[in-house]
Subunit: 360 residues, 2 copies
């Protein structure tokens, strides 16, 4: 099919903000699954196995094929993807010359990864073996898509409050033939730092200074291979960054030991999060690493792999920070300091989940 | 008082994103007014005059002084401001040399403008005379703060869904001795365009092409002096930009006629918004114009004044677009096209508010 902006995924450029937006008109035919505000679905995940499309054996989407009776993770193509892969090359697919009405075709794929057959089991309560399957699946899917696409965005929206349309534990992967805004900016800033500082990696210098100069004041938890820190510049109240201590460009470069260490520290961090307000802590999280596809031919050694957790809660299980008004129009604003947030998280148990505590 | 990062408002730099965050630790002493999720306060504004701190005569904040019995608008200093004005000059107030841990003091003021004595009256249902008082007050407050501060951000959070902590019709003004992110970027992009295009103003060229070349496909409404358009690059489903057709740098440069036209078009736009889903349409809105304070000595003729409306609803009064996961980690995404949104808004009545229709 040839490119048609009223039907096919594309990006448009905002010349005032120097940013792009992804437009996915093909999704208009999607049956609506968005959260309805003020319904009383609450925190409980009482999905019937038969009606929840993410469960083993459930019938799903347009194809009407049943899911396999999977035992660990399960990967499938999103039935209503925000990106299309089969748009034919077209002379209208890019108009870089126009400084006001600029757009380009957006080719890509959207996948879903179910973490576990059990709809009620979130990552912090899974076994380390369960989590290792999630990490292996991330790496497999990443490696597969990285051969074709410039950017492979793995992300998880957890909880109603984060617009998660299905409480079954899962994440998404959107891969694109272009660098999205965040990737493009981080590609530039890390390269600039690298050049200015004679080949030092921004995030490795950052780790070093957090650990030594600042005496772990913002560190939540660390182990041999990994570090969780509330960044000096964190925006969300309890935002954290999770990153390897070694110079690692991409998820697919992690050693077996680093993968094991990752499972351990993720479980610990997520137990802390849930224990903070005795709730299944909502967040969006995702992985950022060096670009892929044809961009992996370029030197990407200025990159350091890292994951970001953006949780909205600030005071309790129901009071969140709104990024509205001033934040949307001027600049993000926060009340509690990153140092305070780090100390609070540090002091919480990373071993016993509040739900397991109640029963003992 | 000397600068203390654990107590005083300051900005921290994110070297990965090339963006700043405003940190306001002094707000920790604020009595909590944030929205609690899933309460059932709903759409009704049944504030007791005596307990709602924004009402005429109410006792408010730390000072314990009663509000005047105001008849139009009422301006006061936020009792728990995100910005402090009285931080003494300090050698530690800026560390531009540090590429990883960079910060600067954030001096400024936060004001609140009540639009009307009646807690239940929103802008679209006010008379044009009421609205003219709001516009005059915007301009007065703007002019006053513009003499001292580089950026004066007027913004309104409307509705529960936008974290608005009080349904009484009001907006806020945060003025700062620095350009916040959005301002800094727009200052640069408009200047670059101006230089490249021999002194043409980005947004004036944009208006011209929307009206002529694109035959108003994205125009929602216009009058002699003003235009409302769903920008080609809009991110929120029904996002609009409101801007004067003449080259105007700042809110304080509007002629009397332009102020009258502004009141008319704002009322029309907000009636359309409310009529879209038969609800008091939630949004964040705000004004962007040329920088002020000492920056007004620079040539700012690349600037064009504009207001932005960012409403979250997408399908109904309760279904909103979540900017989460992919949006936070990669790039904003939308389903309906800006052209579709503009057509939908265009076809709604701008004269009769749905609440007034019901009663006829
Ligand atoms: O000042 P309010 O209305 O209590 O608070 C609201 O607006 C502020 C400025 O946009 C935001 O920082 C807050 O998160 C939001 O809840
Ligand atoms: O794909 P979902 O889970 O239905 O949708 C959710 O995640 C997407 C990607 O972050 C967002 O664009 C949607 O707004 C959000 O509701």
């Amino acid at each position: 099919m040839n490119f048609d902006g009223t039907k096919h995924s594309h990006c448009r450029y905002n010349p005032l903000k120097d940013e792009w937006v992804l437009v996915s008109p093909q999704r208009l035919s999607r049956p609506w699954q968005g959260r309805v505000e003020d319904d009383d679905s609450g925190d409980t995940n009482n999905n019937q196995q038969s009606t929840n499309p993410l469960c083993p054996g459930a019938i799903r989407g347009k194809a009407g094929q049943p899911n396999p009776f999977y035992e660990h993770t399960f990967v499938f193509d999103n039935d209503y993807p925000a990106l299309l892969s089969d748009i034919a090359a077209d002379e209208n697919e890019k108009n870089n010359d126009d400084d006001l009405f600029r757009c380009h075709v957006a080719r890509g794929v959207c996948k879903v990864i179910c973490f576990h057959p059990d709809s009620n089991l979130t990552l912090p309560r899974m076994t380390l073996d369960d989590i290792s399957h999630v990490i292996k699946t991330w790496i497999d899917v990443y490696q597969d898509l990285a051969s074709k696409y410039q950017w492979v965005q793995i992300f998880e929206n957890r909880g109603d409050m984060m617009g998660c349309s299905n409480p079954h534990p899962h994440c998404q992967v959107w891969a694109t033939d272009f660098l999205p805004n965040e990737a493009r900016v981080k590609h530039r800033t890390q390269k600039d730092y690298f050049t200015k500082h004679n080949g030092n990696v921004l995030l490795l210098d950052y780790i070093k200074r957090e650990l030594n100069e600042f005496k772990k004041a913002r560190v939540v938890i660390d182990n041999e291979h990994w570090l969780v820190v509330v960044p000096y510049w964190a925006v969300w109240p309890y935002e954290t960054m999770l990153l390897p201590k070694r110079h690692v460009l991409r998820l697919s470069d992690l050693t077996d030991d680093e993968q094991i260490g990752l499972g351990q520290i993720m479980k610990q961090l997520l137990i802390k999060y849930d224990n903070l307000f005795n709730t299944s802590f909502p967040y969006s999280m995702g992985w950022h690493g060096a670009p892929t596809g044809d961009l992996s031919n370029e030197d990407c050694s200025h990159w350091q792999l890292h994951a970001l957790y953006y949780p909205p809660l600030v005071r309790s299980a129901t009071v969140k920070k709104f990024m509205v008004g001033y934040e949307m129009l001027a600049q993000a604003q926060r009340d509690i300091t990153p140092e305070y947030a780090a100390e609070t998280l540090r002091n919480l148990s990373s071993e016993i989940h509040y739900k397991d505590k109640k029963n003992t």
